[in-house]
Structures are given as structure tokens and as C-alpha cells.
């Protein structure tokens, strides 16, 4: 338990803080652990390539007929992503997984050892047939988009960890971990009044 604090009293007795009851346990750790996994899966796409950007690219750059066939391929990629991440996950997670697969396969014509390892590392054990279907769908989609355009889309929107680190707020701000602490040197002499014993009294610590 925290020791008694001035600010604790001020929160209780003054009217300048939010009056709502402070909720200590809104989320339990299991919920947060699930989110952690989800976030690591989404991390690469959060500020880089997203499913919306892929869809947007197709809408803006392909004619109607090409769009129709590309949309079919996107559906296949999403379906394969669903099989790989698991049916229980929501649309956001499936789309993030689909982006990951799109990035992985955009310049590949088959599921090689490297791709298998990358997918397994990200999602755990997965049905190989789903990866195979996905790779073929991505390949057809990239053909519709023209291969160079697809590569450009992936490269331009890819945000590396290094890039992310450079942009972090406060990265260049020097921070001190010094804190207020008791200083035994500050111990002052006893200042009792004249009626107090002033001699022969030791703290005897």
C-alpha cells in the first residue's frame, strides 16, 4: 500500500480533480496479453501498409474489369489469412494478417522455406494449403496491379523499426532519474526549548 500522501488528500478533499471513481482493474492481464499478441501482429502495418491502402490502390489504379478480378483475389487472401490466424479473431486482425501475407508474397511465386518460417514465427503453426492458396492469389493480384506498382506500394508504405524509433517523441530529450530522497546530512540538531534537556541526550542510533 502507498504511504499517506498530500496529493491523495487533495484528490479526496478538494474539488479540482475528476470526481469519477478511479478504476484500478478495468482490464485484466489476460485481456492485455491477448492485445499484446494482436499488437505485435499489427505493428508492421499500423503506420505502414494497411488493407485499406491496398484496396484504395486497386480502386484508384485499375479499370473496372481489372478491379473485379483483383477484388476476387483480395477475398481469397482474406480467406486464407482467416484460416492462418484462426477463425476466432476479428476483422481487424484478419486484415492485418492479410497485409502481412501480401507483403511476404508480393515478389514470390511459391511458398519457400523463408516464407514458411516468417509465417510460423508470426502466427504459430498454420495450414500450408492456406499459405499456398494465398501466395497464388497475391501473385495474380500483383499481376493485375503491375508488379512494379505493387513493389512500390509495399516499399513506400513500409515503416521499419528504425524509422519508428527515430520519430519517437522524447527520443532526443535527456531525462534524469534523480529523485528527492532523504539525506542524512540534512539531519538538524535538536531544537527543544530551554525547558528541554539539551545535554547528555543522545539518539544513540
Amino acid at each position: 500500500m502507498s504511504p499517506p500522501r498530500l496529493t491523495g488528500a487533495l484528490r479526496s478533499f478538494s474539488t479540482v480533480s475528476k470526481r469519477e471513481e478511479f478504476t484500478e482493474h478495468v482490464y485484466d492481464l489476460k485481456v492485455r496479453a491477448f492485445w499484446s499478441k494482436l499488437h505485435s501482429q499489427e505493428l508492421f502495418s499500423r503506420e505502414g501498409l494497411t488493407w485499406q491502402k491496398i484496396v484504395q490502390f486497386l480502386t484508384q489504379h485499375l479499370d473496372k474489369a481489372e478491379q473485379q478480378s483483383a477484388t476476387q483475389e483480395l477475398k481469397s487472401i482474406l480467406q486464407a489469412a482467416k484460416q492462418i490466424v484462426g477463425e476466432e479473431h476479428g476483422q481487424d486482425t484478419i486484415e492485418s494478417a492479410a497485409v502481412f501475407l501480401f507483403e511476404t508474397f508480393h515478389n514470390k511465386d511459391h511458398v519457400g522455406l523463408e516464407e514458411t518460417r516468417a509465417i510460423k514465427q508470426m502466427f504459430g503453426p498454420f495450414p500450408f494449403s492456406a499459405a499456398d492458396t494465398c501466395c497464388a492469389a497475391v501473385s495474380r493480384c500483383v499481376t493485375c496491379m503491375k508488379t512494379d506498382n505493387a513493389c512500390a506500394l509495399v516499399c513506400v508504405t513500409r515503416v521499419t523499426e528504425a524509422d519508428r524509433h527515430i520519430t519517437a517523441f522524447g527520443r532526443n530529450i535527456s531525462f534524469s532519474y534523480d529523485c528527492y530522497a532523504l539525506d542524512p546530512q540534512e539531519a538538524l540538531p535538536w531544537t527543544g526549548g530551554p525547558d528541554e534537556e539539551t545535554s547528555g541526550v543522545g539518539l544513540d542510533f
Binding site: 498530500l6 492485455r32 491502402k53 519517437a168 529523485c179 531544537t191 539518539l203
Partner: protein, 415 residues
């Protein structure tokens, strides 16, 4: 990303939404732009840490640092959407301010290096988050209209007076310049915080009265407390209360004095608000009443644990120092500085300073301790240089009063 050179509060963004990426336009600062995230509240490091408790703390800490690092990586517009609309983030930050161990806490250091390292990471990430929240202009492109920024931080309780005090006591020792800029910006862009501070000072005075009441004392100038019940067994006192109550009282005093001193040191502009509530006189009376009583209790009570007794003694001494420094800060910023800067109403400030010193004369222990750290003679000499018309009889009387204070507490003034 929102468009450039327009304040965030006026920006509109067009974003793809839904499975087929249908576009829509909305304000850059909009709840729909908040990311789904799950910030967990902070829990302090466990004191008697079993491996399972250590693991739990580390996992908890990892979640917090991951989330705050992610937040600090967000572009300006997304950062503010998260800050304003994500309640779990505010809970997380608030829980840190409430529960993070202060350097003054009895067991402030985590017992394992891994926990200490994690605590440091959280500490930095929380500070950087508050720093970013106190910054309305990050760059030429990323900024918020100052008045709107003031409304956002105030209306959403991103900062309030207790939080600002917590920030000072947690981070102020080594980051005072940054904190000064932060708090100054907060108060400048949102002057309502001065009003809140004005409302808070009586609660701080109440805390002092509570400490005195627990010791069975009453501060001069404090409102009369309830009459003693006829069937009560005498007044409570620092000598008779339980040892745990005494420990809590000393910890409370120590934290309160450190917090107030840290805040006024980092943000001296607040001195005038404290001054309006006669804080200085109340502080001197409080010191005079509480310090000897607590010192006596710590010295004379029988402690089985001598290290606890030594710790309490150090805390009382620490509190005394901080109170004296607080008094000096207030005198410096409300009277001395305007005099030295050659303010227009110099005579008024001289008079006020002399009145303060005169009002300290009956508070002999306080005056002697103040004089030891900040010799009154030095200030009087400064006054005489800045304002030669000063009444010499008055200053002599004052200096004699200081000498008497030393005599009456049975101490010799250092030469």
C-alpha cells in the same frame, strides 16, 4: 495523416473506413480515430517479491512501456486522439502518479535489478507522455491552437493540481527545467489552473491542521476544532498515539513538505497564490507547534526498531528543511525579488517583507532554523542597499528578535 500548417483542432482528414475502404471526412481530433488499445493501470513493485510477483510486475510493466512507447511513436494527430478519447490511457497515467514509489518512500527501491530496470523504463515513458501532453506545439506542422489546447487539457482533466504536484515530486529533482516549462505552459494556456490552485491551498492548510489535530495541537490562525468530548481520555498526542500512527504522521508530513517545496521551487509563480492565503504565517505557526512535538516523540518514545527511529528522525529533519526552504521561496518570490528588480511599489514590498519577519518573531524555533539556513541579516542588508530609507530602529529590533530566538531555543548561532 492530417494536413500540415493548420492547427490540429481545425484539421479535417479523409480516411478509408469499412472493409471496402469507403472514404469519409472527419475532424482530425475525433473519437473514431482513436486506436483500440488496452492500457493497464500501474502497480508498484511488490515489497516481498516472490518469483511469481516479480514476473507479474515485469509483465505488467512490459505492457505499460510497450503501450506508452507506441503512443509516443504516434504522429501528432493520432497521439492527441488517443490522449483525449482513451480512458484506459488516462487511468494508466493517473495510477502511476498515485502509486509510483517516491524516492522518499520507506521502500522505494525494487528488490531485483530486473524490476528496477523496468521501473526506470516506465518512469521515463510516463514522463515523456506527460511532456508531450503539455506541449501544444511540437513542430511547425504539428500544433494545436493555444486556447484550444488549454481547453482540451483542462476539460479532460489531462492535468489537474494534484497531478501537477505529483509530477513535481516524482520527476522534479533531475528534470526541473523541463517541468518548469511544462507547468508554465499549462498555466499560461489555461489560467483556470490558477483558480484551481487557489481552491487547493485551503485543502493544503487543512492537511496541516489535520497533522496538528492528530498531535492534539492547534495552529494559530486555524479555525477552532471541535470541543473535546467530556468522556474522552485527554487529548491525543504524538507521545501517546500508536507507533504506527506516529510513523504514518511523520511520513505524511515528510511527503507534504517535500511536495509543496518541490512545486514552488519548480513553479515559483504559484507563490503568490499561496501568499494570498497567508500561507507563510500559517506555515511558521505550524512549524512552531508541530516540529518540537514530533521531534520529542521520535526522540523519547521507546522504539524496538532503532533503524525506524533513525528513519523518523531523518524524516522530521527533512521536513523541517523543506518547510524553511518553502518559507524562503515564498519570501523571495513575493517580496525580495520585486524589491531587487526595482519594482514600482518597492516600499510596499519592503514593508511586507519586514512585516513577515516581524510576524515570525514569536515563532522562535522556526525563526532560528530559518536564520540558520537563510540568515535574516543578509536580507536586511539587501533591503538597506535597495531601499536606503528603511527605518533602522525597526531593522535593529528585528535582528535583536532573531538573536533572542536563538537564545530562547538554547542554541548558538553559527559564526
Amino acid at each position: 495523416m492530417a494536413c500540415a500548417m493548420v492547427p490540429l483542432d481545425e484539421q479535417q482528414v479523409t480516411e478509408a473506413a469499412g472493409p471496402m475502404g469507403k472514404e469519409r471526412t472527419l475532424p482530425a481530433l475525433h473519437p473514431d480515430r482513436k486506436e483500440e488499445r488496452c492500457f493497464v493501470p500501474y502497480k508498484p513493485p511488490p515489497e516481498d517479491s516472490s518469483p511469481a510477483e516479480v514476473e507479474e510486475f515485469l509483465e505488467h510493466g512490459r505492457f505499460i512501456t510497450e503501450d506508452l512507447d507506441w503512443l509516443l511513436n504516434l504522429p501528432h494527430d493520432k497521439f492527441w486522439c488517443q490522449v483525449v478519447f482513451d480512458e484506459s490511457l488516462q487511468n494508466c497515467l493517473d495510477s502511476y502518479l498515485r502509486h509510483a514509489p517516491r524516492g522518499l518512500d520507506p521502500s522505494s527501491l525494487p528488490s531485483s535489478p530486473a524490476m528496477a530496470e523496468m521501473q526506470r523504463s516506465i518512469h521515463r515513458a510516463v514522463f515523456m507522455t506527460f511532456l508531450r501532453m503539455a506541449t501544444h506545439k511540437e513542430s511547425k506542422e504539428s500544433f494545436i491552437t493555444p486556447s484550444v489546447f488549454g481547453e482540451i487539457i483542462y476539460n479532460n482533466f489531462l492535468f489537474d493540481i494534484p497531478k501537477i504536484l505529483d509530477l513535481c515530486v516524482l520527476f522534479g529533482k533531475g528534470n526541473s527545467q523541463l517541468l518548469h516549462k511544462m507547468i508554465e505552459n499549462i498555466f499560461t494556456q489555461q489560467p483556470c489552473y490558477y483558480g484551481d490552485l487557489d481552491e487547493t491551498v485551503p485543502s493544503i492548510l487543512q492537511v496541516m491542521d489535520t497533522i496538528l489535530a492528530k498531535c492534539g495541537l492547534q495552529c494559530e490562525g486555524a479555525p477552532a476544532t471541535e470541543p473535546l468530548k467530556l468522556n474522552s481520555h485527554g487529548r491525543p498526542s504524538a507521545m501517546t498515539m500508536s507507533q504506527q500512527d506516529l510513523v504514518d504522521l511523520v511520513l505524511y508530513l515528510c511527503d507534504s513538505c517535500t511536495t509543496i517545496q518541490a512545486f514552488l521551487d519548480i513553479f515559483p509563480a504559484a507563490c503568490s497564490t499561496f501568499h494570498c492565503h497567508s500561507f507563510l504565517n500559517r506555515l511558521a505557526s505550524f512549524y512552531e507547534a508541530a516540529v518540537p512535538d514530533l521531534e520529542k516523540a521520535v526522540r523519547k518514545r521507546n522504539f524496538d526498531d532503532k533503524s525506524l527511529q533513525e528513519d523518523l528522525w531523518n524524516r522530521v529533519c527533512h521536513s523541517r528543511r523543506r518547510m524553511v526552504e518553502t518559507a524562503h521561496l515564498m519570501l523571495q518570490h513575493t517580496c525580495l525579488q520585486p524589491i531587487l528588480e526595482g519594482s514600482e511599489n518597492i516600499q510596499m514590498f519592503v514593508e511586507e517583507l519586514l512585516q513577515h519577519f516581524t510576524s515570525f518573531l514569536p515563532e522562535k524555533r522556526f525563526l532560528a532554523d530559518y536564520d540558520e539556513q537563510f540568515p535574516v541579516a543578509d536580507d536586511v542588508s539587501l533591503l538597506q542597499q535597495a531601499f536606503p530609507l528603511i527605518d533602522e530602529t525597526r531593522t535593529s529590533y528585528l535582528l535583536q528578535g532573531v538573536a533572542d530566538a536563538w537564545d530562547s531555543v538554547g542554541r548558538r548561532r553559527p559564526q
